[in-house]
Structures are given as structure tokens and as C-alpha cells.
Symmetry: C2
Subunit: 440 residues, 2 copies
Amino acid sequence: MDGQHHVVIVGGGFAGLHAAKRLGRAGCRVTLLDKRNFQLFQPLLYQVATGAIPPGDIAIPHRVVLRRQRNVTCLTSTVYELDPATRSLRHEHGELRYDTLIVATGVKHHYFGRDSWRQFAPGLKTVEHAIEIRRKLFQAFERAEATADPAERARLMSFVIVGAGPTGVELAGAIGELAHKTMVKDFRNIDPRQARILLVEGAPHVLPVYDARLRAAAQRHLEELGVTVRTGTRVEELGPDFVRMRCGPDVETVEAATILWAAGVRASYFGEILAERTGVLLDRGGRVKVEPDCSLPGYPDIFVIGDLARLTDARGREVPGLAPAAIQQGRYVADVIRARLRGRATVRPFRYRDLGSMAVIGMNRAVGDLRVVKVSGISAWLIWAFVHVMSLIDAEQRVRVFLQWSWKYFTRKEGDRLITGAPPQTRALRLALKRDAAAS
Amino acid sequence: MDGQHHVVIVGGGFAGLHAAKRLGRAGCRVTLLDKRNFQLFQPLLYQVATGAIPPGDIAIPHRVVLRRQRNVTCLTSTVYELDPATRSLRHEHGELRYDTLIVATGVKHHYFGRDSWRQFAPGLKTVEHAIEIRRKLFQAFERAEATADPAERARLMSFVIVGAGPTGVELAGAIGELAHKTMVKDFRNIDPRQARILLVEGAPHVLPVYDARLRAAAQRHLEELGVTVRTGTRVEELGPDFVRMRCGPDVETVEAATILWAAGVRASYFGEILAERTGVLLDRGGRVKVEPDCSLPGYPDIFVIGDLARLTDARGREVPGLAPAAIQQGRYVADVIRARLRGRATVRPFRYRDLGSMAVIGMNRAVGDLRVVKVSGISAWLIWAFVHVMSLIDAEQRVRVFLQWSWKYFTRKEGDRLITGAPPQTRALRLALKRDAAAS
């Protein structure tokens, strides 16, 4: 357009957005493309799913974040084709040429090849997922209150969470908190404390990658909130209201109206486009193997960062799929591009700075491995809350989430428990039931 | 169950919820049934539709509102049948017997018999409508930014609002505010101030039922925010991206990607069930004609209140379909029932206390007819904001909306501009486009 170097970023999650921010005033044009018009703070998505905070508190439009980066244009559009020879991309609303391309499209849910499970057990990657889980969760309690059939009530008050990584543990803890604390006084026909909350994990422990002491603390915290933990147990089959699982030789079928999926992720589809067009290798999870500077082998003008990248860093450790790693990669790649624009072609390879990891269980318990110290209980929760509020990208969001949490903490009230999605309409329901009655 | 008098309330809007609150500790059992698990503060719904506040700020679960009314049970279920002879109701999850029935199911949108228009021009009655309008609105700006075609851009940046009652005026004002103030710095390829915002009204004035001076003030405020007002103009036809309208002999077709409906309402379907089962008369809008004490003629154990009721009050004036009237009727009917339970059968007929009406235009302009005084401009806006914040049913909501507004007022930032609803997936889009290319 104006002869300036044009950087195109596909994907506006942690990695892409931080790259775009760092490229503000870098003497290049930047275009950020994303299917969605907002960045989502995924680490708090489980709080939306369990009604603690509304979706708007953890999502912010890209163009609001990048309002001051006048050289950055945000486009809401799905990119579906790449031609590295002509350095061009095709997207829903047109075509774009790039000088440098950054791909940061992340990961999505994966059902180990059992895609039919998706309809019965929603995962937790998008705002829509969180709202769907919220609807399922609160609708189950509503229906249990409305039904007179004890078997139906037991089924409605059974919740199975598949996968006990951080997301699964946090979801199970938040549901336990809801049933045992927040909603205790809200019903007349049911006692929410009788809810059965099952956390199923194939590995021998919850939070498999954490330290043994923290795993034990996490399991204890979960059990205090009424969560039943089943480790070493694999899901063999699931349907609209049952889960069949195997633990060694034992097979058990549990009836549950609400089944949530927190078990696996797979690289987004853009990795396959890259492989098709550049011949780059993907790992078993579909992630793109990149060079130490995050570029594609043989394509120094294409970078892959964030959860989509498979990278062994300068210290020989594999970079994990976590938000801090994505942020660090986004900033690193922006610095590589700035250095190139200034004519300096060599930079040190990417080096991951491990800040530790945490998981929160219910309202004021957490476990954390902060490298120098391992914490659990309320101190871990306070650190967790502080770190998360401070990591929100926008000052307004920080204030809002802090206020929501403070309010919730002192009043034990939930923030946003709406069941949305259109309910049955009176007329349609009546006509359908009349038709059924006439037919039988 | 326990021999206590059982009051069943169908519908948990302003009327039903205030009746339920007032029946707490009244020595009777109360069951509140609603399709939804929450009450919606409809007067602020247009602020959700235009991204100013998130849906959770104006919606609150019935069971949270009624937590302290231990004699009130809330059920989320759609009621579809009534038998006044056996005093029983059938709903999605079972059957219920009542001693006294209160029907408060309100109104829904009405397209003057042109139901096909619904898909092109969403109305604004539910949270889902508001989120759909929000999606259409922000998606239009996003697509205008992404496209290179000037005709397409013009179409995307044209907005038509049909109907200039309070909802239409408030929607148009809020869209003007967005385009001319809030979003001015957010785009690189388009200037949001070039948006064409058309407010179409069949009557000769905006806000037809207001005083002439206020109507003129409203029109002036709208024009200051870039809204083009077309009064005396009727919509003849509309489709996915056009509106054909007639003003006297002139016919004009406007291309617009976003068409919003604020023109008419009709009583909810439960009115027809009542007519079928009790022979009560409905007016042209489907509203139920009730006795001066809000009961059904010939059925002193059935009350109809809120927007569904057609009632001429003790002073001979027709009670309007407004939130304050619904609240007053809910409380009144609760008092009638309490009096009956104490053996006092005669009460004074319902008397509507008119508190005046207001409409807000943009961020700090409003018009109000407060009976003793007519106000416009910023003083009207301040009164409007105060009245609305104080009418929210829950203290937490009041605090939250107040904080949101204050923040928005001082920063001019929007609160919740998410475009939700799943976007096209890369893989599916790519395959579809390849198929199309192969076919042509």
C-alpha cells in the first residue's frame, strides 16, 4: 500500500495480541486477523461456565486493546488459504499480501477421535462453550427442582467432568463450591449438597504434571467440596446422559445429565494448511515444529507461536502450552521482526522463562508450583487471584473482575447465572404435545 | 400438599415477581413458574443490544430475588395447559394444582402479520434478541472495516430502526452515540461517523404518545447524534438487506445490512389458552379483558396482570403497558389475595398511579414527562439514570450498573462489545469454497 513492511498476524489470542502490541510504532504496517472480534482470557473461562463472572469481564475487543497502535489494523475474518510463494493469504472478506506472517491460531478441543462425544460433553475453549456449560449446569438444578421423579432427580444432580488437568480440577472445584456453598439456600424441593460430582482422570493422579505434594493437596481440597475423584479411570463410552468408564478390570456406568469435557486439545486446523503449503512437519498433536527463533524451517518470513508451535527452547526444554509462554513468544517474535527491520538479522533463540503453574479449587483454595516455593490453601488462592487479575490485559477489566470477586467473596452471591438459549415456546410446545397425544 | 392455600404465578416479569415478593410470609404456599430462570430489566435491554452493559447486569435469577421468601418455590418450566374446572395447570415437567392463579406472561413482538420479517429484523424483548442485535451491529462495522468494496461498505454501514416509540428512539440514539462518539478511534479503514442511521415511524412524530415539546426535543437530540428521522413513513416490505418504505405517494428502497424492529407488540400466547378455557374476551392485541380487581370475569380465583391485562382503572383510564403499572398490579393482587386469606373479600378496585414516562437519547440526553414537570437534555438524563438504577430489583445490580455507567461516562469505553455466536470454522470454510470452485 505505502511500501512499508507489512506484518500479518493470524490469531488474536495471548501470542498474537502481544506480538501486535509490541509492533506498535515499529515502522511497519500490521494487520491482525481473527475469527472473533475479541481476545478471551481463557484461564478464567471456567468462572464464566460456573456463573461466577459474566463473559464480558474476561473478553475484550482486539481493536480496543490496540486502539493506540495506529499502525495496527484489526480485521474480524476467518483465514482459509495461504500461498507462501506469492506471500498472500485468503480470508472471508478478501485477500492480503504479507512481508512477514505470524501464525498464532492455538488449539481446540480433541475427543481422541470420538467426535460424536462432542455433542454430549461440551469442552471449554470459547465463550459459547462456557455459556453452554453454564446453561447445562443451572438447567440441571432447575429441572431437578421441578421434577417429582426421584430417579430423574438423581440423574439431573449427577455431574461428570472428564479430565483432571487444571481446567477439569478448576471446573469440578467450582461446581462443588456452587452446590455446597453458593446455592445452598436457593431451592425448596432439592438439597444442592446432594449433587454427585465425579472427576474422572486416566492418569494415576489429579494434575498429573504437578508436584506430588500439590497433587495431594488438590485432591484433598476437591474432596472437601464434595467432589469424588476417580483416577486411573478411562472413559470408554458416553452418551446424552451416561458415561461408561473402566478402572483396571472394573467397568461402571454412571447416569448423569451433565458431562463436561476437559481431557484433550489438538492444534487448530491452520497447522494443516501450513503443512500442506510449506511441507513443514506436524507432531502427533498437530503442532507445527519450528526453528529456535520460532520461524518455519525454510521460511524465515513465517513465524508460528503460542499453543500451535512445537518448540524446544534454548535450554533444551519443550515450551509448554500455557498463556505465559504464548505472551513471551509473541513479544520475542515482535523483537525479532523489529531487529530485522533495523538490519540486524541475528538474534538469540527463544528462551522460555518458567513462572510456575497454579490451579484454583473453589472459592479460596488453590495449589501452586511457583518454582521457588510450593503453596496450597488460601495463600495459594490469594496469589492466584492477584496474578490473574493483574494479567488481564485491560485496566477496566482488572477493576471489574476485582470488584466482582470482592463482592462475591463477601456476599457469596453468584454474578451471572442466566440460562440463555431460547426456551420452548408455549404455543409450539402445546401443539407438539397435542400432536403426540393424537398419534398415540 | 400441607393444606395451605396455594397461589400459582405464571410469568416472572415485573408483575409476577412483585406479586411473589409481596406474598412472602402471607400464610400461603406460592409457586412461581417461568420459562426462564431470571427476571429481565427490559427498560435497559437496548443498552445490552448496543454493547454498553453486559446481559448479566440487568437480569437476575428469580430464586435469588426470592431467596428469603421461604414459602415461594420457583420452577423453570413452560406452562402449556390450564383446566379451570379442576384448578390445574400442566407444564413441561409435570402438573400443578392451584387455589389462586395469577397470569402475568406479558407481551412479545408482533410483525403486523408479516412473520417472515422476523428473520431479517430482530425485535428486542429477550436477552437472546439483545445479543443477536449486538452481534449484527458490531459485525456490520467489522465487515465494513474488512471489505474493499465501497457499495458493500455503504450497505454495511446503513442501519434502519423501524418504530419510534421509546425502544426505537433509545436504540437509534445509542447507535448514534456508538458511531459518533464511542467508536470514533477504533477503525483504520472506515470512519464510523459516516454510518447512516434511519429511524422510521408511521405516525407523524417520534414518541407519538409524548407531549409536543418533548417530541421536538427528542427529535433534535436524535439528529445531533446523526440519526435521520423519517416520520409518516410506513414499511411496505423488508428483506435480508433492504427496506422498502412509503411516505405518502413516495416509495423509497434503502439498502441496509442491519434492520431492527421496534414497532409492535402482541399479548403472549397464554392469553389464547385463557380465552379457550374460560371464554374470556381478548382485545385486538390479544390482551385479556379483566375486572376492576384484575380478576377474570366469572373466575374470581384467576387474576391477569401486567402487559397481558387490558384494564380500565378506577379513574376510568386505560392502564398502560409499562413496568410501573405491572409492579403496581403485582402488589395490588398480592394484597387482594392476602385480604381474602384473612376473610376480607371486598377491596377497592385497582388504581394506576402514573409516574410519568421518559426516554433516553444517547449518553447524556433524555426527555421526560414527569406529570408535574417536563424535562429534556442532561437533567432528564440524570433523572432517568437515577430512576433506572433505583428500580433494579437487587442491590448488587444497582452497584454494578452504577459502576459500569460511571466508568463508561468518564472513559467513553464500551462495556461489552463481544460478537458471540460461532464464527465460520477454517476447515469447513475452506472445504466449502473448494467445492464451490470445483463446481463452477
